[in-house]
């Protein structure tokens, strides 16, 4: 995917919200950083699971 398309794909997630040209420039520069950050984190997290919600035993309240 080209860089232009990548940004367009991300910005589409903002829905109908519109920003000024200068704001959009700042947001896309953040998005460009994010792609690099995610690549770093992907390597770092490679062999680590996601810890989903842990269930706890339920304390029964009999007779209440």
């Amino acid at each position: 995917m080209s860089e232009k398309n990548r940004f367009a794909h991300r910005l589409a997630l903002l829905g109908a919200v519109e920003f000024s040209a200068s704001d959009l420039e700042l947001i896309t520069s953040e998005i460009a950083e994010m792609d690099r950050i995610l690549a770093d984190l992907e390597d770092f997290a490679q062999d680590t699971p996601w810890v989903s919600l842990q269930a706890q035993p339920i304390e029964k309240k009999l007779g209440s």
């Binding site: 994010m34 950050i37 984190l41 997290a45």
Partner: protein, 470 residues
């Protein structure tokens, strides 16, 4: 005469009120006068509760006269961040979006404070909904630092830190998602404590990021922090992250005995720390060693990913929290906050999970480290409060790179839910306070407080008075 007690800590003020040498009405009147006197310089408050505070003080005096004293906070004037819902009192989150919102319920913290008989005299200024580290991103304008009003107070709980530093009550409650209690505490020369995740319920406070938000406490003394914690800690089923726990009694277990405690310094992350801060921190380490701690250097390479992991988690969760307002009223957010939410909105679910896997790896590394140590200590911030004119970049945060930068040390405690305390540890050549943070293992809150007390009992940095107080 009436103002002589303004610098008193909670313990002393409480004693004066309990013995009726001072009435709650007098204490509240003086605190409100003090607030009015310095507020034009600080802009630390969004709402002042004159009428309610005077009425509550009268009720407290009546109860105490009847021998019905509720405890150490009874009749004492305190403040809270305008993140907490207050029944019948507007609650803004420093946002234009909720400019006139008056909740019909109290946040958990507010309920507990009312039960304890504390008198809430004002709601403090902050970065909008807690999104920031400067307290300049407020619809109500920036908070100014009491030590130098050209400097920031730090954020997002800057109004609370500034209020305690300026002697507007001995205690204030804030919140922390990244470093929003410890950083402003360090910049304003007060103690700032955030407990283990789940110790204080967040019910009724605005959310910055569900999995990182904490309630925190500001005071000038560690003992006051412990009293403030006792008043608000405890299980609350309305906060799904609240933990089952015994009745809190942190204050009664404060003993300052830290002999043999293993204290680790993440030395590689201190590169780039200002020389004055480094000097103050080294002196603080010496004090801890004299008190009996065993100091050692420690490297946890996984921490070099902490700042970016915390930032990405916050960005995604805050976008999720504010999704509707962002879509319907994005123009009403402070522009910098709106751009941050936009960034968060573009993070996908699978990317968020990648970030959470990274977070778990860091958690595991810390878990292993705490098997061999009791505390991690470092300067709270690598430099003193920057000028307001430098804007949000003044803090010098780096949450974008894998590196040994200090931002990792600021962000990992909230990201992992560890208890942390910043205590004043020195004064820079330009008369700005500096802080040392003490970070314990999960549920080692008492160890953190004991160590902070031991340090404070051997130093007097917390007794220094800011410029606005002279």
């Amino acid at each position: 005469m009436i103002h002589d007690f303004l610098g008193a800590d909670l313990t002393d003020l409480s004693w004066l009120i309990s013995t009726r040498e001072l009435s709650s009405a007098e204490a509240v009147t003086a605190a409100l006068e003090r607030l009015r006197g310095v507020e034009p310089e600080l802009n630390a408050f969004i709402t002042v509760l004159d009428e309610q505070a005077h009425a509550a003080a009268k009720a407290a005096d009546d109860e105490i006269a009847r021998g019905q004293r509720r405890g150490p906070l009874h009749g004492v004037p305190i403040t809270i961040k305008d993140m907490f819902a207050t029944a019948g009192v507007r609650t803004t989150g420093a946002s234009k979006i909720l400019l006139d919102w008056v909740p019909d319920f109290d946040a958990h913290v507010v309920e507990r404070l009312h039960t304890a008989g504390a008198i809430i005299i004002g709601k403090t200024n902050l970065d909008e909904f807690g999104h920031g580290g400067t307290s300049t991103l407020s619809h109500f304008g920036p908070v100014h630092n009491p030590w130098n009003t050209e400097r920031i107070a730090g954020g997002s709980s800057g109004g609370s830190a500034a209020a305690v530093a300026a002697r507007i009550g001995p205690l204030s409650y804030g919140t922390e998602t990244g470093s929003s209690v410890r950083r402003p505490a360090s910049y304003c020369g007060v103690v700032g404590f955030k407990p283990t995740f789940g110790i204080i319920s967040r019910y009724g406070s605005f959310r910055g990021a569900w999995s990182q938000d904490h309630v925190g406490i500001f005071a000038r003394s560690v003992k006051d922090i412990a009293l403030g914690l006792d008043a608000t800690a405890g299980y609350d089923g309305r906060d799904p992250s609240s933990v089952q726990q015994d009745s809190p009694s942190y204050a009664s277990h404060l003993d300052g005995n830290i002999k043999g405690l293993r204290v680790a310094v993440p030395r590689p992350f201190l590169e780039g720390t200002d020389s004055a801060v480094k000097e103050a921190f080294d002196a603080a380490l010496k004090t801890l060693a004299e008190a009996g701690c065993v100091i050692e250097d420690l490297d946890i390479p996984e921490l070099s990913y902490a700042a970016m992991t915390s930032m990405m988690t916050s960005a995604a969760e805050s976008a999720g929290i504010n999704r509707r307002w962002f879509r319907e009223r994005h123009q009403d957010f402070v522009p910098h906050v709106a751009r941050g939410l936009a960034f968060g909105m573009t993070i996908t679910a699978s990317e968020y999970l990648t970030v959470q896997r990274a977070r778990h790896r860091i958690r595991q590394a810390l878990r292993q480290a705490y098997e061999k140590i009791d505390l991690i200590v470092s300067p709270t911030t690598p430099r003193v409060a920057p000028p307001i004119s430098e804007g949000v970049k003044g803090n010098g945060d780096d949450t974008r790179h894998v590196s040994y930068n200090h931002s990792n040390l600021l962000r990992f405690p909230s990201m992992l839910g560890l208890p942390g305390c910043s205590v004043p540890c020195g004064m820079s050549p330009d008369k700005m306070p500096m802080g040392m943070q003490l970070i314990g293992a999960w549920f080692a809150d008492q160890t953190v407080l004991n160590t902070a007390l031991a340090y404070q009992s051997r130093t007097d940095w917390h007794r220094q008075k800011p410029a606005v107080d002279r």
